[in-house]
Symmetry: C2
Subunit: 383 residues, 2 copies
């Protein structure tokens, strides 16, 4: 589909973050002589005795993994935040020091969650029914950390409040934390150091920058538009336009958003207002699992490689005001770096870091290519 914007440099507005990106579609003609990613090895064993995530293996700090057969969650051996640390009461010094040397302590808890017992499978290899346990684990860890006074706690089915896998370290922390960021770094290009399928969960006493910025934009939209939800309106618009849709089912829509920064960036958006994972019914979870399966399979099919990305789930704070929780809207972001092939990525560097994010192909072009990549996983066809 030819689009008038395909040959015009322009700036698009991201209403979810309240920021802009520069789109330079004609720039894809540029030849590439720079760094190449190494294509991922496709011949991993299904069990690796040296992997610290495989069932039954020993981890860095001496703990042994149980012989789990689906998902497994444990406290990160190198957590970025800890439950306990020495007290710190912020900056001191004269007025100028207080003005510039501002710091606040952050406590929290970091988990690692494996998606499968098999070392050599990824979300793209799993059927929706095999992804449901991952969504259940995300939901349970979220529910287990939810503030008892949250408006969401009432809706969270009691079973969800059980610790996952009965592993003692997953129990509710003594302190009530403010936010939980669930994410996955996939592939060496995205800083992932172990191919065993896994994601992370970082829970902090603070509300981090990105969800805070989104929450403020979501809240404002509701105020400005008579209580309607930005992402509900947006999902409906995209479903109607069919210009940036990669996949949709009754519950979720997968789009390359109008304001995508990464070349094949997508969002999975709930089509109706869900504040957090605990708002999903079992049927909703199956639909979300299908959306994840359809998207990750297309990603891998696009360049016939294990497609690297960072994925993150944005949802209501664990401990939020009624207004914050009501404005929250469950969605997933996928930020994949590849641009032209399994080895040529987009670098978000000089101009992007110093001035403004910049992209080459349009989100419409990206969506058209991903839409066309359905069907069986390329690796299965090759077997």
């Amino acid at each position: 589909m030819e689009n008038v914007l395909d040959d015009i440099s322009h700036r698009r507005y991201n209403p979810l973050r309240g920021s802009h990106i520069l789109v330079s579609p004609h720039r894809t003609k540029r030849p590439w002589q720079g760094a190449q990613e190494s294509p991922s090895k496709t011949t991993l064993p299904d069990y690796d005795p040296k992997c610290y995530l495989c069932p039954g293996n020993q981890r860095a700090q001496g703990d042994t993994n149980p012989k789990y057969d689906s998902t497994f969650i444990f406290v990160n051996d190198y957590s970025a935040v800890k439950e306990e640390q020495a007290p710190y009461d912020g900056s001191n010094g004269d007025e100028i020091e207080k003005r510039f040397l501002k710091a606040e302590p952050v406590t929290g808890k970091c988990y690692v969650l494996t998606f499968s017992a098999a070392h050599n499978l990824t979300l793209a290899d799993l059927a929706p029914i095999e992804i449901v346990p991952v969504i259940n684990a995300w939901t349970e860890i979220y529910a287990a950390h939810l503030s008892p006074s949250s408006p969401l706690a009432k809706n969270a089915p009691p079973t969800h409040l059980q610790p996952v896998n009965h592993h003692s370290s997953v129990s509710r922390p003594k302190e009530q934390y403010r936010y939980m960021q669930i994410f996955e770094n996939k592939g060496a290009a995205m800083g992932c150091s172990n191919p065993h399928p896994h994601g992370q969960v970082w829970t902090t006493s603070t509300l981090p920058e990105e969800p805070a910025a989104e929450l403020e934009q979501l809240r404002r939209y509701r105020v400005e538009h008579g209580g309607s939800h930005m992402l509900e309106d947006y999902a409906e618009l995209e479903s109607r336009k069919q210009e940036r849709v990669v996949f949709e089912n009754e519950g979720f829509i997968v789009v390359c958003p109008w304001w995508a920064t990464w070349p094949f960036e997508t969002m999975i958006i709930s089509r109706t207002h869900k504040r957090a994972l605990v708002d999903l019914s079992d049927a909703d979870k199956t639909l979300l699992a299908e959306a994840i399966a359809e998207l990750t399979r297309r990603y891998d099919n696009l360049f016939e490689t294990h497609f690297p990305y960072s994925m993150g789930i944005h949802q209501a704070p664990l401990d939020g005001t009624q207004e914050e929780v009501d404005a929250s809207y469950l969605h997933l972001h996928f930020y994949p770096p590849l641009l032209r092939s399994a080895t040529v990525r987009k670098f978000l560097v000089g101009y992007e870091l110093m001035a403004e994010p910049q992209r080459d192909i349009t989100p419409e072009q990206a969506a058209a290519r991903l839409r066309g990549c359905g069907g069986e996983l390329y690796r299965k066809k090759m077997e």
Copy 2:
């Protein structure tokens, strides 16, 4: 120097952007089994017949470079923005489409600037006196695009308004642009596709996100603090504390800022209020050249490698209001990805993209290491 924050996870405030970063100093203990950068080749020829930046060579679109002997500037053959393009009048459609599908056309001009005729030299190899021509070229290209009605135009010495190298394409564009971003991507890890020392200059009809956010913070500080300049106060504080200083001379201070995100991130800050490069005297330029030389040499010495980074200059908009220009404060950012060695970098991925930038070593630890890396360039010692 032991610091109470060396073992406490905390969040620091960045007053220049108005945002936060998470610092997890204890996390450096984590072993690294992930992707390794390839160490840069140190044996490049001083002239490469296949390099499109070397003097006398032909470029991708057919132009031939002059036999220049210092700097050379030309219009980027694959510019992200162009001077002319088809008109585009923004979004259309119904109310909801207008709400979400917002775009504005962006015009502009992109240049490439070589720093030296030699293919195998970098800023780290150059003496301050050899960096002065680079600063002059930056100043001249900035001056050549400055709005005639800018308060800065009056101060810009007439010589600065001459096109650089008398290359016709560097002449003033017909349209008055709003902002000029000067930057350098160095090293394959930062998306640089040619080792010939060079930077870029992107000039746009819009004020990009980062300088806009900084300008707003700088402006507010002036209003809140009786007209004083945030970065002047900050430079003075850092010079007094000596905890994050890498190098300083009479004109400039090089610090790992309190709020640094990248492991060895630094800023070069003018010690007195300079709104833009055109405010620098010849003596100031020599001092800035010295600061750049001292910093880039220390970077290379740190892990005995060609240290990759993205560098950017922030200064007054080309076409700004009196208030904007007066609030602007010349400074340079360096964002280098390496963390532990020439091959192990920090990945700003999942948590950082989805939630909040996170760093491992503290800026104080980084500054102490860089301070200790002065002296001769390691490559020269090895000769």
